[in-house]
Amino acid sequence: MWRQVCARQSDAADRLAESAAIESANLRRVYTVRTGWRRRTTKEIHAVQGVTFSVERGELFGLLGPNGAGKTTIIKMLNTLLLPTAGSARVLGYDVVKHPVAVRQRIGYVFGGDRGLYDRLSGLDNLRFFAELYGVDPAVQRRRIGTLLDMVGLIGRERERVEGYSRGMRQRLHIARGLLNEPEVLFLDEPSIGVDPVAARDLRAIIKELAAGGTTVLLTTHYMAEADELCDRVAVIVAGRFKALGRPADIKASVVNDQVLEICARSVRDVHLDALRRLPGVRSVGVDNHSDGASVILVRADGTSNFHASAIRTLNDLWIIRVNTRQASLEDAYIALMSPAQGTGIGTQTSPVGPL
């Protein structure tokens, strides 16, 4: 039933041929930070440094990157909450600086975390207020709110105060709020942050259905598996610049010839990691220490090298619990991109970047 919520309005169809859902050209944003009291100093932070990309209508586009990379800044410039320092951006053909109201009428914005709701009010009261705020026709409000509550699984809980909701319930209410005005473009800024795996799976299902219904979605996330599962294309952003842009499969292809060896062992020390790094063909070594004393060492190496035996030999003084080999994932590609020595090899942005 709620697919109807995502049904595009006829005017959107008329504009379909006119423009992409999102277009950005050399978008830049500089924050000015002032410090000190007696001797005030001004520092400029270049959060976004000339980003050019486009998202087609109906596409689910992912923005990946570490904290502070500029993902949220890009989203806020696109949804008219921040003025770009330079460059331009258009959403559904409307310039975000010149025509902010036209943009606002056609987009939805959902962010992760506990904030963004009136917690002393019920979920229903929140939706009623935001429906008015987003100019939803009173004649359709009641039906649409009911449909959205059904879609996000909050039927029966809508009259309870939001302060009593779990994180997952709040996040689902956020999604419902973001869809009240039937947006053609939905911005999702880390929607699954802090929610449990079951709630995250439900959110992913909702996002998939929205995209299937024709809504253009721009998603930022830290979860590579989520991006891999959901996105038609992803862009990896580091320090305000795109490092890669393309389909997840294309980005993974950059490391597809690599082998990944996962070794679970106890008493791992730096000397072992250094020894692994010195092995021929090894591209990167990472370690994840567990609270029970075990560590998972992740060794990514050139697919042509036969390093398994030498890696195990290097760790022969350790108690090795488990060894596993697997194909490189999007996360491996992401980590590779984050690595300064290896991050420039694939899909490095050329301007402008079109859909692959």
Partner: protein
């Protein structure tokens, strides 16, 4: 969002209900709003030996109620942006197609209505504990004058909220505005007790005209003139808010202050 009158009225009413409900569910806010004016009215009644003069009881109660309305508008409206920012809804309000001024008005109106709780409480105390007659408080003129006070102070609240959008420490500023407005509006002491050079300042405040209207309504004085002037000055403040808000909003978007806590 359309700005047709019907939608504007509907949005104002839905917004008023939303924010009134939200604020009323804060026990601290309601207690503070009610308790302080009651204390002020008790002090005023005893200082002026009003216990033996029913007319003075009414005057003192009404004045304390008006002080409560102003305090509520000042603190709640002055910090409206900060509160919405803390809740994380400020970006959603600014990012909505509804003009920000219209989005703000129900918030500030709700603060004035919450302030009216103070008026209701001080009137209740005057009637129940000091034997004041309920009749003057039930007259349509009194209710109209209080309503005008609420609406015009709501307009003042919009201007304050707009002006304070860039201030993350608005509390510090609103603290300094509470008592001067009480004085200049004639809520705390009669205007005649103030030096003459301050009177023009008082004339610029809709709260002064609202206070005069409320006072006149309970003692049977002329109410139409002060009500009209209160509405006129209130509208001027609203016009100033319209002038201010676009510039302030643009500046907030440029400086990225919408989410700063």
């Amino acid at each position: 969002m359309t700005t047709r009158p019907g939608r504007v009225i509907r949005f104002t009413l839905v917004g008023l209900r939303t924010h009134l409900l939200y604020m009323s569910r804060s026990v601290t806010t309601v207690l503070f709003t009610i308790a302080t004016p009651v204390l002020y009215s008790l002090i005023a009644i005893y200082l002026s030996h009003a216990a033996t003069h029913p007319a003075r009881v009414i005057q003192a109660s009404v004045a304390a109620g008006l002080m409560g309305i102003w305090s509520s508008v000042l603190f709640q409206s002055g910090t409206a942006f900060q509160r919405q920012r803390r809740l994380g809804v400020l970006e959603l309000i600014v990012g909505a197609p509804t003009p920000i001024l219209l989005a703000l008005f129900p918030i500030t109106l709700a603060t004035a209505v919450i302030g009216a709780y103070a008026m209701a409480t001080t009137v209740f105390c005057a009637v129940v504990f000091f034997g004041a007659s309920i009749t003057p408080f039930l007259s349509p003129l009194f209710l109209a004058a209080v309503l005008v006070c609420i609406v015009t102070l709501g307009f003042v609240g919009v201007l304050m909220a707009c002006s304070f959008i860039m201030l993350r420490n608005a509390y510090a500023l609103v603290n300094t505005l509470e008592h001067p407005i009480w004085m200049l509006s004639g809520m705390m002491v009669p205007l005649s007790a103030l030096p003459g050079w301050l009177h023009p300042l008082s004339w610029l405040l809709p709260s002064m005209w609202g206070t005069q209207a409320v006072r006149d309504s309970v003692v049977g004085g002329p109410v139409a003139v002060p009500i009209t002037i209160a509405l006129g000055t209130g509208a001027t403040y609203l016009a100033l808010a319209v002038f201010t808000v676009k510039r302030v909003e643009r500046r907030a978007l440029a400086l990225a202050t919408l989410t700063l806590a």
